[in-house]
Assembly symmetry: C2
Homo-oligomer: 649 residues x 2
């Protein structure tokens, strides 16, 4: 039967981190570091290897700090408005005699014999003499040698990032080169027979190797020098050889399986042969099958194959090691309290890391969990932060107070759009970013999900298209019914076409909903609560079609585009959605209905952002861009259809 994975143990994350660090310390991995000598001008952002001492003083001579005349202070004593003192003006090459002075500019060497500068504004120069009307104190307006940096003084301590002013200081102190910690060289080895390097070679069942590029980029970000190994197939000897060879030239080796962690999982066995496996399996999700090993005193890390797992485990077990190896403090992610937007189930016994969108909604910081699939790359790029659900917790309730670790120190600049998906929302996002630098993040949960998100204070915007079969009107009755206590505005975005998408040429000759019961037709559906699904479920009985007779009725996807993609790939023959999605993927479109797609805006009265959105919707540039997608009528875009009557305008 199936060859079970030989997890040595499944350690908690914190104990794993401690074990990992202490074993690396014991192996001497952090103690003596390779050093590189660079010209000062090339050392920006590098880490000083040792303390740096000044070779010369700054300033390196006593100089004038002003434009003026250099005098011997004693000669000026007694000068006053009523008793001007006249000094003889000497040329630079004439030797000083008491009662004389020299013209000096800022930075000029103080002529021998002088010890004070009088500002030019306070001097009356007349031919060969200068008249002053105030006494100078000794050493006034003189920059004294070493007043900034003294020769042999420490300029920069060891293990510090070199900044632009540091470069100025090092150069000024007479240094030409500086020793910096060599960047740790990290080889990333993508492994997997199913991996291909180029998307042209992609066939079903094959996986494009994207992780190695992502991990190399992460290593760069963390100060390392990444080396991307070519793809190694799932062959025991080949992987072993690749690791052994990489160890000769690298400070760290990362192997990264394909998504298959199945029967070809050699990593742990290979690393046991090449060195010692310290950990195989950590009680975290995603990322559980991570392998941490020490080979030749160097860390070798087997990261799991799914992109989200690979990135998380790299953050946990690669990043801090690289920082420590460079003698830099661990990066501290800023932690903010937030309210959890949706319930989160979690397994007891594993610590779960969930990426979240973070936004400030009506004064409340909200964390909205993103898709938790370990393979969902888009959850990595949409996330502003991550929360951890402890290993003893069965999950968190909606509204629970959570701590979010933010990936960026920037202000929270996310607008959350939760609800029905429409391509026009992406375009609204582009226009908003141009004008306000806010990022629109969309979670596609269908129209009813959008209304619930607004009700729970978890969304700024919700796109909805809900037909009230009693009134024949779209949207307004639902908003009035569910959102009594919210400061909503309902704003028209578009009228648009709904219909069936089919392959070009309509090979199955589908004419309408009544064809869906045909045995040779596979359907792809939208999820419950989506406006499209509700429209379908409203229309089917009118056509005398029972949903149970439709093949694929239970296959649910959550966007128009996903419906179109499923048909394009031949995994279904038809599905309902908007014309724009069909056009985007080159499908044919059989119109079934018109509908109104509106957005609910959840902002306090008078909020600028709501006005900004309305003005974008009304702009000809936005309307043209959306109508170009096909099947849209934006002539009413930006019309405020209703404002919550309960709360007044």
């Amino acid at each position: 039967m199936h060859k079970g994975k030989a997890y040595l143990e499944c350690l908690p994350r914190e104990r794993t981190g401690e074990l990992w660090q202490s074993r690396l310390i014991a192996a001497g991995y952090f103690s003596s570091l390779p050093v590189e000598t660079l010209l000062i001008g090339q050392a920006l952002g590098r880490v000083t290897a040792g303390c740096t001492y000044a070779k010369q003083s700054v300033p390196h001579y006593n100089g004038s700090a002003m434009d003026g005349i250099a005098v011997r202070a004693q000669d000026s004593f007694g000068a006053a408005e009523t008793n001007p003192v006249r000094l003889t003006l000497l040329k630079n090459n004439e030797p000083f005699v008491p009662g004389s002075c020299y013209i000096v500019d800022t930075g000029d060497l103080m002529p021998a014999g002088t010890n004070s500068v009088i500002m030019i504004e306070d001097v009356h120069i007349d031919g060969n003499s200068a008249e002053i009307i105030a006494a100078a104190t000794p050493w006034q307006h003189v920059r004294i040698i070493g007043e900034d940096i003294v020769a042999n003084e420490m300029v920069l301590p060891e293990h510090q990032l070199v900044t632009p002013p540091d470069i100025a200081a090092l150069l000024a102190a007479g240094l030409e080169t500086i020793d910096v910690v060599a960047k740790p060289k990290v080889t990333v080895i993508p492994t997997g027979t199913e991996l291909v390097a180029r998307s042209q070679d992609l066939k079903p069942g094959a996986i494009l190797d994207v992780n190695s590029h992502m991990l190399c980029a992460a290593v760069s970000t963390w100060g390392g020098e990444p080396v991307r190994h070519e793809i190694v197939p799932d062959n025991y000897e080949q992987i072993k050889q690749a690791v052994a060879k990489s160890l000769e030239t690298s400070d760290m080796v990362i192997t990264n399986a394909g998504t298959s962690a199945g029967t070809e999982d050699f990593t742990s066995r290979i690393l046991s042969e090449l060195g010692e496996v310290l950990v195989h399996g950590v009680a975290i999700k995603p990322g559980k099958p991570v392998v941490l090993a020490l080979c030749n005193g160097k860390p070798v890390i087997g990261l799991p194959g799914y992109p989200v797992s690979a990135m998380l485990t790299a953050e946990l077990f690669v990043r801090d090691v690289l920082y420590q190896r460079q003698r830099l403090p661990k990066p501290q992610l800023q932690e903010v309290p937030a309210v959890l937007a949706r319930q989160l189930y979690s397994h007891v016994g594993v610590e779960e890391f969930v990426r979240v969108s973070v936004a400030s909604i009506q004064g409340k910081t909200v964390a909205a969990p993103l898709s938790r699939g370990a393979g969902i790359i888009s959850s990595l790029i949409k996330a502003q932060g991550v929360i951890s659900v402890g290993e003893n917790s069965p999950g968190l309730a909606a509204g629970a107070e959570v701590k979010v670790k933010l990936f960026s120190q920037q202000q929270l600049n996310t607008l959350l759009a939760v609800g029905s998906h429409d391509l026009a929302l992406d375009i609204l996002g582009v226009f908003l970013k141009r004008q306000t630098n806010m990022l629109l993040t969309a979670a596609n949960v269908g129209s009813m999900g959008g209304i619930m998100a607004i009700k729970n204070g978890e969304a700024h915007i919700a796109g909805i298209h809900l037909l009230d079969d009693k009134t024949g009107e779209y949207n307004i009755s639902f908003v009035n019914k569910y959102l009594a206590n919210i400061n909503w505005q309902l704003v028209r975005l578009a009228r648009r076409d709904q219909g069936l998408m089919v392959l070009p040429g309509n090979p199955k000759n589908i004419k309408g909903l009544s064809d869906l019961i045909r045995e040779d037709i596979a359907y792809v559906n939208r999820q419950r609560g989506s406006g499209t699904r509700m429209l379908l479920d409203y229309l089917l009985p009118k056509q005398g079609v029972a949903c149970s007779t439709i093949d694929g009725y239970e296959k649910e996807v959550s966007t128009h585009m996903a419906v179109a993609a499923t048909i394009t790939a031949g995994a279904a023959d038809t599905g309902m959605g908007i014309r724009a999605a069909a056009m985007a993927l080159g499908l044919e479109f059989i119109p079934i209905s018109h509908e109104c797609y509106d957005i609910i805006l959840n902002f306090p009265p008078g909020d600028l952002m709501a006005d900004m959105i309305v003005s974008i919707l009304k702009s000809p540039e936005f309307r043209q861009e959306v109508e170009r997608l096909g099947g849209y009528d934006l002539s009413e875009a930006g019309t405020i259809l209703a404002i919550n009557k309960e709360l007044g305008e």
Copy 2:
């Protein structure tokens, strides 16, 4: 007389910024940007030029999300522990028939005919058949095409920094290249006849060009591509030509004067000829003479010559323009409230920017102003933040609440040592950084200044060496007298030699303090309140020497090393200080006295940091390192001499 500078006007900083931005916008500087096409793997940290759309869906096929068997869900209906269902196991190349199944690994293509995966753990495989004991729901454990990213969907919006996960998403979406905003090319032209490029060529009156390297590094940090022009002497035509030529190939030109802003200040005139000078003179300190001009629709900025002025004005008028040109949000420095450690006078009519050390002392965040000289590079490298004193403010009182803009988002990790300077403090700093990652920042204000800083809660540590001429004891009576209400500990650092430093060979044949009255001897003194000065003033009368008879008695510098440097440069014949300073600069040393250099520790009782410092002082490694400097006896280092009796132990 002196040729006055023709400041067009002296605008407030905020109005200058608005004018600068609006004129750059009007000139179209931000509207159309050069674009560069890069391989995805090279785009890390670059800014997307446009929106990026997926070329293929991710996943690009329906695949198994588990290791298991692929089945048609309908065939599993009815399966239960009491009613196992047996399916025929097919090979991959055999066509599907109802009631059959295939073995699949995670990531494998779903075989035609199947629509569901049952986990291998729930299957009993026996020869050519698989037995299941639970029904599968359609599409369970199947990764549906496009569930992550759908073809033609937007992957990244325009004007966004590319992160490691973005690289994975772009590659997965079938892209190979991406258009990014070309880095703005910024030419930095150092100007000044007094400038030299190499420290070997440095003579008195000459200035090493360090600013151009600092500014180029700053441009890199801000995302630009710096080009360092060679030094151009103060020649009208040459500077004009250099600017004109640089404008042809650059997006921005920066000229940077030598420190001399005197009679050779051509920048403004040249820029008027090449384009339009918008601003000449801003009501800020430092940095007032900045010139902002538009030539050929490009910004040309004349930055003042002093390093601190150059850096500040670059931060104000270069950084944000570069970010905006790259379509990035302005970087926001984190602002924290703090208590001002010392009184700050300021001129009404100019906004003054003062760099500060920031530290948390006994629970209070303290901002300690650093040297405000526009030429003091070390103030740039020591600063953790900057405060602004408004143009209508005559200054701020000690203890005033100020807002500090922090340069780094790192935790406050500074230990402030304020007081008498000793080279051993630098070494203590190195040891502390190794063990705790805290940075020791020293402000040299003399022993009495250190006691006052502890009293006012402005220092963690104060080094003192104060002789009580009544008791003949060092330090303890002063601490008891002034620090009644503080949790201090007084800890021995070293016994050390004090004496007169002289040039090698002692050319003036100085034997002791009584020689200081000789006419041919120039003295360099320490500032009032320093232990060395107090020692001198205590010893002189005993030798029958009146201080008024000493040439140079009024020339004060604030560290031992500055005394040594002044003598090395021939600007004085002798001065009093510690043996280590003399040895560091190769001077001879005439011993005059022994003294005790102790440190006051200002930490709450039981604070770990105080214990850490004591244990470092006691360690042989630290003692050896300090004693190597010469003139030190560290046999008592780390001995706790006293703890404040008033507050108890």
